[in-house]
């Protein structure tokens, strides 16, 4: 399992960002499921702050501890996303920004071994995020109940 050893060199950063306290909530949920992980940070925005605050925090982190970075934003084209997207153009380190952060995305990204390239893990996490969205109602549940079958075992 991905147990990241830190010896002063930061392997990578995974940053959850959001409006309100969704990012902290996401971090708390990921910790509950996967345990502590020093790669992860959560930066969120209170109603009283300028959206630039998150970009400033990310900028400070990357200046202090440069490393490949994945940033997860709560919603596409929100002010948080708008302010972070410029980091993707950096040439001194890889920065990937993903939107539509959900728990399936976060768990997938955090739980894959960091030996897999960050970009590939991010693409897989986007896939997991899509698959982690589903709709259920009585109709679907009743059909599933009716069609239950058990295969080869």
């Amino acid at each position: 399992m991905p147990k990241v050893e830190f010896g002063g060199d930061f392997i990578e950063h995974i940053i959850f960002t959001s409006h309100g306290s969704l990012a902290e909530g996401m971090l708390s949920a990921v910790k509950l499921i996967l345990g502590e992980d020093e790669r992860i940070r959560a930066y969120s925005l209170s109603v009283y702050e300028s959206p630039m605050i998150i970009a400033e925090k990310v900028g400070e982190l990357l200046a202090e501890k440069p490393a490949p970075t994945a940033i997860l934003c709560d919603i596409t084209s929100g002010s948080v996303h708008n302010n972070l997207i410029e980091f993707c153009s950096r040439t001194d380190m890889e920065v990937i920004v993903m939107t539509g952060m959900n728990l399936a995305m976060a768990i997938d990204l955090v739980s894959k071994p960091s030996s897999v390239p960050l970009r590939q893990r991010c693409e897989e996490a986007i896939q997991a995020a899509h698959e982690g969205i589903a709709f259920f109602d009585r109709d679907i549940v009743e059909k599933a109940l009716h069609n239950q079958c058990y295969d080869e075992l």
Binding site: M1, I107, E131, F136, I140, L145, Q148, E152, L153
Partner: protein, 162 residues
Amino acid sequence: MIKLIRMDDRLLHGQVMANWVNGLNIGGVLIVSDAVAKDDMRKMALNLAKPSSMKLFIKNMAEGIAALEKLNGFSYNSMILTENAKDTLALVEGSPVLSGITVNIGGQRPGEDRHRVSDTLCLSDEDIGMIRKMEDLGAKVEIRKLSSERAKTLADIMKDIK
């Protein structure tokens, strides 16, 4: 090949999926429980909730034991989920296929006669006796909720209990 038995009264949930199913590249999960096997509603919910890439089998104890050899022969990795120590011991006792298997003691809710071992694990003296018996039968017992945690042995937790 059967990689692991996980004893966890929540059966298939987020911690199991993220830590063991993904971590051990599990292609099939067998839930062995008399109660779940006869509950169509729970079976349906478990089947709807699982990822499409993973097979899920739900069997009662007798059918479960009978299916182990076949499950072990499948090309993909598999794991078994049980709800309690009694069922886990019955499996370990019941089939030579599980000889030397790793038994992960994950979660067990609080009860009047149960000692608290961790935030998600409470065990009664009877449970502890059954877990000891699994060890005597050659099972590799490890006590932890998440794969990122250090695995504790029964001897480790006995120091903390009482």
